[in-house]
């Protein structure tokens, strides 16, 4: 292109992409036509009327590179932006083509009345805009006779609606759809989002959108993270500003806002309904990107879209808002989607769109993952609730809760009662309209009610969503919004929070409530009510719906948030059953062993093991409230042989061992298996706990929310490992079918090497198992990052795909195949001599007298970080005493003797880490949930400030 273009001098856009075309006016957009008549109008160009369009089109630049595009991305902006919105996508696709990767042409249009396209002076409703866009794509050869295809639509805001409408109408060339904060359905009767209600109000509409640039300004201000640079704001305003423009140049913005079909009589309503229905029939690959901080397109619209496109890849960019394209690297996501999801289907001959079956195949990992699937024939699928069915006539105890006492005895639920309640509750939920695949958020404390709810939902096929109260109200609120449940079951505190914070979902109370309270909290029914309804239906012979299958979604568990923002982790029924099997087989849990645990995920598994489970007296949301007496009582009550405890609970159990009587010690002596769950613990603590249960084999397994059990080591194994020269914490060998590989780190501390089993190599721990998660919930990009290539011992690639998971932990394997954990990838120090993982040095520092806990953090820029140890003094030690008193202990620096001792313990001769400074913090900051993972990021930031000379006191 030669000569000046409208985009000359605008940042981030290449003027060679700017094209102005005169295109025959669409049907409905001619002299006598009225708006909305497009459907009845014959195609053709009888009048010779044209419309002038401005588009950004990379065709010329791709031709300049000498590459033939494999397809086209048709990008449609929303209101009140213009094609400038897509400049990152234009740049990214041309860069890919220049790098020799498959070339995708981008055509980003300025819709008529907007951007630099024509101001026609006509009102354009949704049907008209669809006809307009088709007229343009016909002229460009992207649709109509002789269309070359394939086309992937990309749309934002109401441009997303237009792009999806185009997609529904052009199945012959459609190869995929991408949307950014787009809604295709607005339920009748629901109020418009407040900002739009204001904008559409008569009078306000005219002044806000036409006479001033207020609507434009507000929309641009929605990109808050980071704020738009001034020159980018100016670029967005360019088509609408200037004396030559005047208010009429913004008419299109006003028209677009007025076109939001808030009620059934709106002229655009039929077109919107048609699009919404059509989208639900799309089977092409779909990518749904979302910024949750959007005051207009709230998350109910995301939920609606995901319901219509169940096969879509979905990614919620936590913290991002409406102007997603300005806030996140969306072009990278689109490029990955097109390369991985769309390209394979368009490479095949025949229709562009793949069938739903193809998509399902890819969801399961496709051919590559097949090769990587763990060896051995998979066990036949036995659902979690089967043990309940089998013991439905057993009057023995299934669940005991010692925290709840009835008539002086602990609450005890028999197998018969639990099985009956579960079936009745499933029938009641079914009667209430809860369907397979719908999400049921459970905000119910552990105990028999939670157990019944979990198994009822599983049996019904409803997806159980669990996020524990340890996240705090804000964390919980984020988790609930992220998973967007259809039904929310909670006790009073949860219902109050749901009401106050506007959480989604129909409300069911876990407890009985007075009618007034139910009305105030918007509660439809109670768990007891559902059970009652279900009993009647079962008694009447009404069957339960068919059982869900192994591949159906079963649960969404939220990660603790101790290692980054809490994420939802999806499990299928098959994966949960595999988890039950691996726990049962590895720890020898049988019908007679009984299970004592206050650790929620495993407490819920009790009925699935077919053994009685008991919760000791404790505050289940605060594990450190568990006492040794309470454990002994629980063991006695359930005649339990297997005990599962979290590290924080173990610490308190050991600390309160003095209160045990002879009978208590005798009861604990009958325990045969004892597990520390949640985080590996060190030998002294495990040994102290083992001393209370002398007949038990103590285990400290390693796992994470994404794969609850990866490896296991016994106390004996821990002691054997103590003689090894390896640094870090030995967590043993893989359990059952689980497999472990190590992805080596580069100088910058990134795990870029091919994962292998080579001993002694420091890297990120990568795991695979039948009980590994299905994926992260609505975090497709996070899923992609977590899946990685794995190679065999010789370095050859043996497989890749979603059935391998990057744990974010670093460590190494030894000659005996044992895994040693050395910290988190995010906590690796990048020193001038290479990456250093923290745990080995911390373990060494903790051997220094007076040191209770230690954390190794890096200070300084990446690549030249220097190692700093932060210690927490042992209570009562001379160090701790020296830090009390009005004038003492105000320095964060450790005294000279301690510095020398720590340097000697972790220095070059020992753990090999040259410590530059030793700081003292009275308490190391830890995460809320486990109270055990040290917040190294916070400590590192504090240490950096102290050592820069800033006068700061506490981390």
């Amino acid at each position: 292109m030669s000569g000046p273009t409208p985009v000359d001098g605008l940042p981030g856009v290449d003027p060679r992409d700017s094209r102005v075309l005169d295109v025959p006016a669409a049907p409905g957009d001619r002299g006598g036509d009225g708006p909305g008549d497009a459907a009845g109008d014959a195609a053709g160009d009888a009048t010779g009327e044209t419309r002038r369009w401005h588009v950004l089109d990379t065709a010329a630049r791709l031709a300049g590179l000498g590459v033939e595009p494999v397809g086209t991305l048709l990008a449609v902006h929303g209101n009140p932006t213009w094609s400038y919105l897509w400049r990152a996508l234009l740049a990214r696709t041309v860069a890919d083509a220049a790098a020799g990767r498959p070339a995708w042409r981008v055509v980003a249009v300025d819709q008529l009345e907007l951007g630099f396209s024509e101001r026609t002076g006509r009102r354009r409703d949704l049907a008209q805009r669809l006809a307009d866009l088709s007229a343009l794509t016909d002229a460009l050869g992207l649709s109509g006779p002789g269309a070359t295809g394939p086309v992937v639509t990309v749309g934002h805001d109401w441009g997303g609606v237009v792009s999806l409408g185009w997609a529904v109408r052009h199945p012959e060339v459609l190869a995929g759809v991408v949307t950014l904060n787009t809604a295709v359905h607005h339920p009748l009767g629901d109020p418009l989002p407040a900002p739009l209600r204001l904008a559409t109000a008569r009078g306000v509409l005219a002044s806000a959108t036409r006479r001033t640039t207020a609507f434009l300004d507000v929309t641009l201000a929605l990109a808050r993270r980071p704020p738009l640079p001034d020159e980018v704001r100016a670029a967005y305003r360019a088509p609408y500003a200037g004396p030559a423009g005047g208010p009429h140049r913004r008419d299109g913005i006003a028209g677009f806002v007025a076109d939001i079909p808030a009620d059934a009589t709106h002229p655009s309503r039929p077109a919107l309904d048609e699009i919404a229905d059509g989208v639900a029939r799309l089977t092409v690959p779909a990518l749904v990107l979302w910024g949750p901080r959007d005051p207009v397109f709230t998350e109910r619209y995301l939920d609606d879209l995901v319901d219509r496109l169940p096969h879509a890849r979905v990614h919620r960019y936590v913290g991002a808002g409406h102007l997603l394209a300005e806030e996140v690297p969306y072009a990278d996501a689109v490029a990955a989607f097109v390369a991985e999801e769309v390209a394979p289907s368009v490479a095949r001959p025949g229709p562009a769109g793949p069938s739903t079956a193809d998509l399902a195949g890819r969801t399961d990992g496709g051919d590559a993952a097949g090769a990587a699937a763990p060896a051995g024939a998979p066990a036949p699928f036995v659902p979690l609730w089967r043990a309940l069915d089998e013991r439905a006539d057993d009057d023995g105890p299934a669940v005991l809760d010692l925290s709840v006492r009835r008539r002086g005895a602990p609450l005890t639920v028999s197998w018969r009662r639990l099985a009956g309640t579960v079936r009745a509750l499933a029938a009641g939920l079914d009667a209430a309209g809860v369907r397979r695949g719908q999400r049921v958020q459970l905000l119910v404390p552990p105990g028999p009610t939670l157990t019944a709810l979990v198994y009822a939902c599983l049996r019904l096929g409803a997806v159980v969503v669990v996020a524990d109260a340890g996240l705090g109200v804000r964390g919980l609120s984020r988790a609930v919004r992220a998973s967007w449940p259809d039904v929310l079951v909670a006790a009073e505190p949860g219902l109050l929070a749901a009401r106050a914070l506007g959480w989604p979902g129909r409300r069911v109370s876990a407890v009985g409530l007075p009618a007034a309270a139910r009305a105030a909290l918007g509660v439809e029914t109670t768990v007891a009510g559902l059970v009652a309804v279900g009993r009647v239906r079962l008694a009447a012979g009404l069957p339960l719906p068919a059982e869900p299958g192994a591949d159906d979604p079963a649960a969404v568990l939220h990660t603790s948030g101790s290692t980054g923002p809490a994420k939802g982790v999806r499990y299928t029924h098959g994966q949960l059953a595999a988890m039950r099997d691996v726990v049962r087989d590895h720890f020898g849990i049988g019908p007679r062993t009984g299970l004592v645990t206050g650790f929620a995920p495993f407490a819920l598994l009790g009925p699935a093991f077919g053994t009685r489970s008991v919760t000791p007296v404790m505050d289940v949301s605060a594990p450190r409230t568990l006492t040794a007496r309470a454990v002994a009582d629980a063991v006695r009550a359930a005649d339990g042989r297997v005990v599962f405890l979290s590290p924080a609970a173990i610490r308190n159990v050991v600390a309160t061992a003095g209160e045990l009587g002879e009978a208590d010690r005798e009861a604990l002596g009958r325990v045969t298996t004892f597990l520390s769950t949640g985080a590996p613990i060190a030998e002294p603590l495990l040994a102290a706990a083992a001393a209370l249960m002398p007949g038990a084999v103590p285990h400290t397994p390693y796992g994470m929310t994404e794969c609850l059990l990866v490896t296991d080591v016994t106390l004996e194994g821990v002691r054997a490992a103590a003689g090894a020269p390896d640094g870090g914490v030995c967590v043993g060998v893989p359990i059952g079918p689980a497999r472990v590989r190590i992805a080596p780190l580069d100088e910058g501390g990134r795990a870029v090497g091919a994962a292998a089993t080579t001993p002694g190599v420091l890297g990120e721990v990568v795991v695979s198992a039948p009980h590994l998660k299905d994926g992260y919930d609505r975090l497709w990009l996070t899923d992609r990052e977590a899946a990685r290539d794995v190679s065999d011992a010789e370095g050859a690639r043996v497989g890749a795909g979603p059935r391998w998971h990057r744990t974010g932990d670093v460590g190494h394997l030894d000659d005996e195949g044992r895994l040693w954990i050395e910290g988190r990838l995010a906590h690796v120090l990048t020193t001038a001599v290479g990456p250093v993982a923290p745990v080995a040095a911390e373990t060494a520092a903790e051997t220094v007298p007076g040191v209770r806990r230690a954390a190794l953090v890096g200070v300084g820029p990446a690549g030249v970080q220097v190692p700093v140890v932060v210690v927490e003094p042992e209570a009562g030690s001379s160090l701790a005493r020296s830090r009390t008193g009005p004038l003492r202990g105000r320095s964060p620096l450790a005294p000279a003797e301690l510095v020398a001792a720590v340097r000697a313990a972790v220095g070059p001769d020992r753990a090999g880490v040259p410590v530059v400074a030793v700081l003292v913090a009275d308490t190391l900051p830890t995460d809320v949930r486990h109270n055990s993972k040290v917040d190294r990021a916070r400590l590192a930031a504090w240490a950096a400030r102290v050592l820069a000379g800033d006068p700061v006191r506490r981390p």
């Binding site: 001038a832 200070v859 300084g860 820029p861 690549g863 030249v864 970080q865 220097v866 105000r890 320095s891 964060p892 620096l893 000279a896 510095v899 040259p914 530059v916 400074a917 950096a944 102290v946 050592l947 820069a948 000379g949 006068p951």
Partner: protein, 324 residues
């Protein structure tokens, strides 16, 4: 024999160590300074770098120069700083060029690129005669720019900036610290938490020899040289005190107050007759309360050098020297 090297300022603490290191490395050494150099085995020329005649005698027949002579002080007449540090360097470079000397190692200071804020893990920045703090740093910055500008096909020049040099016999840092600590007058600013790099004297001397050997790679560039073992100020000063058997600093004053006091003292000292050192200057307050440690990767790779003496070994040697 590796040729003959002239060391200027060889009667100083670092100059004497440098002459010794060059002799050990097999060079013939000539020294130029105002007082007898006292380096056994070196050929002594008496004179000042501001005296062209003395310079001409000193550079006659040498292959290389290591230029350390400078006015190092916290206060004093600005004209004197300029005369010795800038004028002396210019005169030396002229004399060297006239005599056909091929190689020059110009000894500089990290303070030439230090504008008073914390330096955390950075490499050598450009010398800044305007932004640098204090007359010493400003004139050394100007001198380094002169020296590097002289680098060319006939004369190869490298600038080496050792940071906070210390060791037994150090009349500057160590002696002052120990003297004040012994009198109980060594406060720590904000508890001395800032992390600083330092250089044991023999390591600095070795680095000059390495920079000279590697001039084919290093010429035209500036390198910061340190032990690569940052320590907190409290740790470093405390270590020196313990090594010397004097009381460690036990009291802390806020750094902001120290800076204000430094500014006041500077103003008073500027009007007051005499040549003694002010007890506190803004420069010193900043040096003792902000981090300054460096990225040594480029230095170690280009110089093909690593420090031979660790901080702890250096402190042991200090203890031996002080206690005999």
């Amino acid at each position: 024999m590796n040729g003959t090297v002239l060391v200027t300022g060889a009667s100083g603490f670092l100059g004497r160590a440098t002459a010794g290191a060059l002799l050990t490395a097999g060079y013939a050494v000539r020294t130029l300074q105002r007082r007898p150099g006292g380096v056994p085995g070196a050929d002594d020329v008496l004179g000042s770098v501001t005296d062209p005649a003395a310079l001409a005698r000193a550079v006659d027949g040498v292959d290389a120069v290591v230029h350390l002579a400078a006015k190092v002080s916290l206060a004093g007449d600005p004209a004197q700083f300029a005369a010795v540090n800038v004028g002396g360097t210019r005169a030396l470079l002229d004399a060297a060029r006239d005599a056909g000397v091929r190689d020059v190692v110009h000894v500089s200071s990290p303070s030439v690129a230090h504008a008073g804020t914390a330096l955390v893990g950075v490499d050598a920045g450009p010398a800044d005669p305007v932004g640098a703090r204090g007359e010493y740093a400003r004139t050394k910055a100007a001198a380094e720019r002169l020296a590097l500008a002289a680098d060319g096909p006939d004369l190869r020049v490298v600038a080496v900036r050792p940071h906070l040099v210390w060791g037994p016999g150090d009349p500057q840092l160590v002696a002052r610290v120990l003297d004040r600590a012994a009198r109980g007058r060594l406060p720590l600013l904000d508890h001395g938490t800032a992390l600083v790099d330092s250089t044991y004297v023999d390591n600095a001397a070795d680095a000059f020899v390495a920079a000279l050997r590697r001039l084919d790679v290093t010429h035209g560039q500036a390198y910061v040289v340190t032990n690569g073992e940052p320590r907190t100020i409290a740790d470093l000063l405390g270590g020196m005190c313990r090594a010397a058997g004097v009381r460690e600093p036990r009291w802390s004053v806020p750094a902001g107050a120290a800076r204000a006091a430094g500014a006041l003292v500077e103003a008073v000292w500027a009007r007051r007759p005499g040549t003694d050192e002010p007890p506190m200057t803004r420069f010193l307050a900043e040096q003792l309360s902000t981090a300054h440690w460096f990225d040594q990767r480029r230095t170690r790779a280009d110089l093909a050098w690593t420090p031979a003496v660790t901080v702890d070994e250096g402190l042991d040697r200090l203890a031996h020297a002080v206690r005999g």
